[in-house]
Amino acid sequence: MRRFDYAAPTQIFEACALLADRGDDARALAGGTDLIVQMRERGRKVPLIVSLRNLEGFKGISQNADGALTIGAMASGNEVHHSPLVQKHAYFISEGAELLGSIQIRNRGTLGGNVGNAAPSADAAPPLVAAHATASIVGKQGTREVPVGDLMVGPGQLALEPGELIQSFTVPAQPAHTGTRYVRHVPRREMDIAVVGIAALVSLEDDLATIKEASVVLSAVAPTWPHATTAEQTLRGQQISEKLLADAGEAAAADSRPISDVRASAEYRRMMVDVYTRRALATAIERAKTAV
């Protein structure tokens, strides 16, 4: 591991200024479960690390007056996973957070870090995209709101200016009869990384047999966390049936743009998008039926 400088400012403007001034030479530390490993094992050089741990307004999980949920970027994987608010509001965000590494890793790793690391295989980010969450971005120019789905532009790349930081996420209130599910395919049961991940959100009509709205977001099968738009269109307004879910699975597979790498071939990934989309939707629908 190379030498690096370390700063842990208490003021947001200070953190933003440090990061802006040093550009590519600086990285924000929001847990370090990706960054530090890359520096130790893969020789990544980061001359300046700016820790976000002392910043105000980056922590905590709370419900707003309009029913939306705000999750601080520095909320740990375990905090998000165990939060009753998150579980009640959008269960699949809790499910995705539960898959970040091990229990120990989840004590360090954060939701903001998972999004900020911008790995196509992220587990906690796709549910945020599927739930139409926005990110509050702070920088020297002030604050702006960006849909999480627009944040990632490619592996390791976010649509942020130098010195901008994700402060929190806002997850809008969900309609009645909404159910969610995040599920991923991994060769081993724990301590793994998604080969395919599917975040599904389904809102039903009052008849509990018709799909009003569906959101299907893919992980690890594209350069970003895209919506499977054809699959979503396939589902919208349709009666629930096995065939519908099978069609949605096939559509999602066609929507995916996987690559072959050490974890799986593109062909296998596409097959798994089909299987897991079907399974994720089935669970989300079951949850929607029992949701208040």
Binding site: E41, R42, P187, R189, V262, Y268
Partner: protein, 777 residues
């Protein structure tokens, strides 16, 4: 606790041996108090870092490191030039600390730097200028065997040093060592009877071509070594290694130092499994000799996965024939083993082991060790044997199915026994293959029909057996009687598996004292008597004999003093529980403590005894596995429902330790079967150099491993002891893959059976119209 299948022999006289005992060093280990290799430091110490070849194959035209020497903190640089006389190609890896004129794999050490901090050393690596001429490379052994393949060896080289592989197996395995040519660095053949006739008289013949991936031993603790070349010319070393004397001899040879001037303390070791020998130690040694300061080097996990010495990839063809009544008639086999950039693979053992469990009247086996531009391979727990068992045992199950026979009955009918011959012609001593099969036959899991689950996922059952010859090296142990009547034992072997606890049990049993009265110390190479490498499952097998002999020598000296004091004949002295007395008069005794006092005050001086031991021969250990699985056919994910490990331990000195070994080996077999694989990119780089993508099974992937210890007396071991460490890893890969094959109704030929391989095999079977058919090949 393991179920122990009782031998008929009388065991009631035993007080310490054959009893389950927690590891004496256990509390220290689990509380983090134990000091492992990387935990040792010295004042003024430098840190070393290693520059590695970025090419799979290249000529090294020049190395220029003047700029690196000027970098902050850098003290010295070492290259192959520092070992100039020893670089001979081709030869084994331990002779090539650094690449010489050629880099033969991506990751091969080219130079090393010693600097004040680890960061300084790593940063300065970039300043070493190496002029490489990249050469064509070859990664697949079957490609490497083609006449137009790039030649990996340069020049005609010297003899191949196979010392390291010989530690693991005491049995000469090659019937006929054939000439090597091209990239084939070794070739063997074994034959018996007439293979064509044997196949002709068979009613059923099944065959398959099997691959087993390159896997890493993945000991928890990476390589680490600290060397201090002192002003008086001693090379003092603290090294995590399975063999401190082997490290000493290697460093002494490479640095041209007398053996007694190289003083190696083998530290507590965080696993080795055959892979932790001398790869690293010469580097801090040469750096320290040049810098005249202590130097420590600790590998990262990625260095381990790219450039250590993993277990080999192999391609094995097996064809087996049997008569309708279940009698085997023929075995044909061909092993292609990828040895990587240097010879030294377990190819000949793997080839021979194809014919190690059953009597085949006709047999034709051939094996090829093939060089490629990948990291050179080393030993991994029963080296080569899991690969062989994977092929043979799957085909045996297919033959049994085609015959309509129970696979255990089929095996019992043909199981190898005392006096039968292995492919190398050696008659076997009394092995426990039959007893292991009977333990499987009697096991509750085997006798409970496997019911299909309600979730629609097919279930299957597989079983397999396997064996391992093991080592039988010579050792010595020294025992002292201490002032209070307790004893200390000094050995030179590494406590890799809890052997220290077993040795303490042996000494306490022979000396007739409670276990708490005995401590075992592992001295450095100058203090301790010689002991062999902790490999080949041999430490407890051989040191139990030398420790018992040392105890006998100490007792002989003690009896002399007791006889004098009691006025009795020395031959009439009896002893137990820390006391000695003359036969028939146990009330008038002398305590061990008093004997110690008397000895120290006598002209003979204090009591100390050294014993020597070497088992008269190796005696193979047999193991078996039962596996029940459930397969998600859409995703290819496998759930292991039941996993049973059976092993013949001869005489379990510490049944708790034996059970731990069976569980550990079986779980490593799960990794072989389902998850583990080092994957290479076309350029020769490892694509998964970390424990995220090199997948070990986690606790969540492994069910409880039910264990059965069989005790078939071994006449060459202490009270019947046999080798224990290795056999348990041999059959589980075969049993688990066979269970998956059974569940899906299709033959499967690869390890590991990753979810993707299973899904693709099912798809191929469907397109061939053979789903849920009879497994044939």
């Amino acid at each position: 606790m393991a179920k122990v299948v009782e031998r008929p022999q009388e065991k009631t006289a035993l007080r310490v041996a054959n009893k389950p005992v927690s590891r004496i060093d256990g509390v220290e280990n689990v509380t983090g108090a134990t000091k492992f290799g990387a935990d040792f430091s010295l004042p003024g110490m430098l840190w070393g870092a290693i520059l590695r070849s970025p090419h799979a194959h290249a000529r090294i035209r020049n190395i220029e490191y003047a700029k690196a020497l000027e970098a902050p903190g850098v003290v010295t640089v070492a290259t192959a030039a520092d070992f100039a006389e020893d670089v001979v190609e081709p030869t084994s890896r331990p002779h090539n600390v650094f690449a010489g004129d050629f880099a033969l794999f991506l990751g091969e050490p080219v130079a090393a730097i010693a600097a004040v901090t680890k960061e300084d050393a790593e940063a300065a690596l970039e300043l070493i200028e190496v002029d490489y001429e990249p050469l064509p490379h070859v990664l697949d052994p079957e490609d490497a065997m083609k006449p137009d393949a790039p030649a990996i060896r340069h020049g005609d080289g010297g003899d191949i040093d196979r010392t390291e592989m010989s530690f693991h197996s005491s049995v000469a395995s090659s019937a006929e060592d054939l000439d090597e040519s091209g990239n084939v660095s070794s070739q063997v053949q074994f034959s018996r009877g007439d293979i064509e006739e044997g196949l002709a008289e068979a009613d059923v013949v099944k065959e398959g071509r099997f691959t087993a991936a390159m896997v890493h031993q993945t000991y928890l603790e990476p390589h680490a070594a600290l060397a201090h070349y002192t002003p008086s010319g001693d090379m003092k070393m603290w090294v995590t290694s399975q063999g401190q004397f082997y490290v000493r001899d290697t460093v002494a040879r490479l640095l041209k130092l007398p053996a007694h001037k190289v003083i190696v303390q083998g530290t507590a070791i965080g696993g080795g499994f055959g892979g932790k020998m001398t790869l690293l130690a010469p580097i801090p040694a040469i750096l320290s000799k040049k810098a005249r300061r202590p130097v420590k080097v600790v590998w990262s996990r990625s260095e381990e996965l790219v450039a250590a010495n993993p277990a080999p990839y192999s391609v094995i063809d097996v064809k087996i024939g049997a008569k309708r009544d279940g009698t085997l008639t023929a075995l044909q086999g061909r092993v292609i083993m990828d040895t990587g950039a240097y010879p030294g693979s377990p190819m000949s053992t793997a080839t021979m082991l194809l014919g190690s469990c059953y009597v085949f009247p006709n047999m034709e086996l051939e094996g090829f060790e093939v060089l490629t531009n990948k990291v050179s391979v080393g030993a991994y727990r029963a080296p080569g044997a899991p690969n062989s068992a994977h092929a043979v045992e799957n085909v045996m199950n297919w033959v049994a199915q085609a015959l309509g026979m129970d696979p255990v009955e089929f095996r019992l009918r043909n199981a190898i026994k005392e006096g039968d011959r292995w492919p190398n012609g050696q008659p076997l001593p009394d092995v426990g293959g039959v007893e292991v099969l009977e333990a499987i036959k009697n096991h509750q899991v085997w006798n409970t029909p496997l019911e299909q689950g309600s979730n629609g996922k097919p279930r299957g059952r597989g079983m397999a057996i396997g064996c391992w010859s093991g080592g039988a090296g010579g050792s010595a142990a020294t025992i002292k009687l201490e002032a209070d009547g307790s004893f200390s034992v000094l050995v030179g072997t590494i406590n890799l598996t809890g052997s220290t606890t077993s040795i303490a049990q042996v000494a306490a049993e022979e000396l007739r004292v409670p276990l708490e009265y005995v401590s075992v110390h592992q001295g450095d190479t100058n203090e301790a008597p010689y002991g062999p490498v902790a490999g080949g499952s041999q430490v407890t097998y051989t040191v139990s004999l030398s420790a018992a002999a040392a105890a006998h020598e100490v007792l002989r000296q003690m009896k002399g003093i007791a006889a004098q004091r009691l006025g009795a004949d020395v031959d009439d002295i009896e002893f137990d529980d820390g006391k000695m007395w003359a036969q028939g008069d146990p009330e008038r005794y002398v305590t061990y403590r008093r004997i110690s006092d008397e000895a120290v005050g006598s002209t003979n001086g204090p009591i100390i005894g050294t014993g020597h031991g070497k088992p008269a021969r190796g005696n193979p250990g047999f193991a078996g596995t039962i596996a029940d699985v459930e397969v998600d056919t859409e995703t290819g994910l496998v759930t292991i429902l039941n996993l049973v490990g059976v092993q013949d331990a001869g005489f379990a000195i510490n049944p708790l330790s034996v059970e731990g070994q069976i569980q550990g080996g079986t779980i490593q077999g799960v990794g072989y079967a389902l998850l583990e694989e080092i994957v290479y990119d076309e350029d020769g780089s490892v694509r998964n150099p970390g424990l995220l993508d090199y997948r070990l099974p986690t606790a969540a992937d492994v069910p409880n491993v039910d264990t059965v210890i069989v005790e078939k007396h071994n006449p060459y071991g202490w009270k019947g002891t046999r080798i224990v460490g290795e056999p348990s890893i041999v059959p589980p890969g075969a049993a688990i893959t066979s269970a998956i094959s059974d569940a899906l109704g299709i033959p499967l030929h690869n390890m590991p059976l990753t979810p993707e391989r299973i899904v693709m095999a099912l798809r191929d079977a469907r397109s061939n119209g053979r789903s849920n058919g009879e497994p044939t090949s």
